[in-house]
């Protein structure tokens, strides 16, 4: 045991890496399951990046809706990203993370629109900001748009 002491740092590193990987994997799988389920659920709320609805055939009430998510990388993703920053290439460890965040933010925005009785969101935009002072690196993904509620 005593002979392992000098390598404590390396052992802690390895444990964090393993914990990060396992926890990250479990969270990602569960999140994707939930995303797919809710994407079906909110299917009838349509989203468009156009500034105006495709056809204005009836009067609408317009309100701003938004959905925001703050995600953090896990230890494994952070270390892998550090390695990618040396060797270059697709930072695969972040691709899925940000994909989840983007889809989750749209879902939350759709949820907000549904609560307002809207069935369509136009002028949808995304914004990403890095949460300052988050030691491990967390980002906020904000989706916002104009929800249109048909008036009778």
């Amino acid at each position: 045991m005593q002979s392992l002491l000098p390598f404590a740092e390396l052992i802690v590193f390895a444990v964090l890496l393993l914990v990060g990987y396992v926890a990250g994997r479990i969270a990602e799988k569960a999140h994707y399951r939930s995303i797919r389920k809710r994407e079906k659920l909110f299917e009838r709320v349509t989203v468009f990046s156009n500034r105006f609805p495709p056809t204005v055939s009836q009067p609408f009430q317009a309100t701003l809706v938004c959905g925001s998510v703050v995600v953090s990388q896990d230890y494994f993703k952070a270390v892998a990203a550090g390695l990618y920053s040396i060797f270059g290439g697709r930072v695969r460890s972040y691709e899925s993370l940000l994909d989840r965040a983007r889809r989750e933010s749209v879902l939350r925005m759709k949820h907000a629109a549904m609560r307002k009785g809207a069935s369509m969101i136009v002028n949808v935009k995304f914004q990403t900001v890095q949460v300052p002072g988050s030691g491990v690196g967390a980002v906020e993904l904000l989706a916002y748009g104009t929800a249109l509620r048909p008036l009778a």
């Binding site: 990987y21 994909d99 048909p150």
Partner: protein, 296 residues
């Protein structure tokens, strides 16, 4: 309103491709490790090369931290020291270089050279030889290591390794450094390269030839180690320590023979008996040694 719809996203989107995070992680770690290893190697070779320029007094200062001083009057140290001094030869040692011969009362049949010109002869070695010529060969071998600054080169290499390891983890770095110059005085385990050993052997044989006028009996200790090793049948526990820290004995004996022929050194001659102080150690062995150490 129902005229428009959003397409359902596929299971795998373009944004998230098939990925093997663990595989690519390990590929990158292996790449980084290779670069790290190459840097470590270069640094170690560099340190090994520049260490030889360290003044001998610096070596002595390092050694003073853990090498116990020798009482010049004590036996068998005095006898060993006298023998070592007689093997230096007429050309002497480089200026500032001194030799200190220690005696280790351990049963291991081995000898070691470490920084600061410190040589240790262990009891097991004295018990394994029966002439001064064989002892002189071993002593001259260790003197040659010191003359060529081999111990300090190894120490430099080890220290470079410690520095490299500390870049990885402070704990691992200091562990390596401690192991090299720890209070335990592990410097005795400094290892030398094959070429350093070969050079030391050649120098030692020349010193023995000069001292005794012939090289008879010079290989006696190596032959004894070889005999014990084959008697042990390769069981690593019973193979003498000497065999694990030195190159193949067959090779050494062969090269010694070759060198003797080349230089026309006499291979026959009268063996000089061990000095009384060392013979006493051998005699004391008789009481228990033969039974207690069947394999060495």
């Amino acid at each position: 309103m129902s005229t428009w719809s959003n397409p359902r996203l596929p299971q795998e989107t373009i944004n998230v491709g098939e990925s093997r995070p663990v595989l690519s992680f390990f590929v990158m770690v292996a790449g980084l490790g290779a670069v790290f290893f190459a840097c470590a190697l270069v640094l170690m070779l560099f340190a090994q090369a520049i260490a030889a320029w360290l003044p001998f007094s610096a070596e002595q200062a390092v050694a003073a931290r853990f090498v116990k001083p020798v009482d010049p009057a004590a036996e068998p140290e005095a006898t060993l020291q006298k023998l070592a001094d007689s093997l230096v030869g007429p050309q002497g040692l480089p200026s500032g270089m001194t030799l200190k011969v220690h005696y280790g009362a351990l049963p291991v049949a081995n000898a070691s050279a470490t920084v600061g010109g410190n040589i240790t002869i262990y009891r097991g070695l004295v018990e394994a030889i029966d002439s001064e010529n064989a002892l002189a060969m071993v002593l001259a071998h260790e003197i040659a290591h010191i003359r060529h600054r081999d111990p300090v080169r190894s120490l430099g290499r080890g220290m470079a390794l410690a520095v490299v390891m500390s870049a990885l983890s402070a704990g691992a770095g200091s562990a390596v450094a401690d192991w090299m110059v720890g209070s335990a005085g592990n410097l005795t385990v400094l290892s030398f390269s094959r070429s350093q050993e070969a050079r030391a052997d050649a120098d030692a044989l020349a010193a023995v030839a000069q001292r005794y006028g012939h090289v008879a009996g010079a290989g006696a200790f190596f032959q004894e180690m070889q005999r014990r090793s084959s008697a042990a049948g390769g069981a690593s526990e019973s193979v003498p320590v000497f065999m694990r820290t030195h190159p193949s004995t067959d090779d050494r004996l062969y090269r010694m023979e070759l060198l003797a022929t080349e230089r026309r050194w006499a291979t026959e001659g009268t063996l000089t008996p061990l000095p009384p102080a060392l013979q006493a150690i051998r005699d004391a062995r008789g009481a228990y040694g033969a039974k207690a150490q069947p394999g060495g």
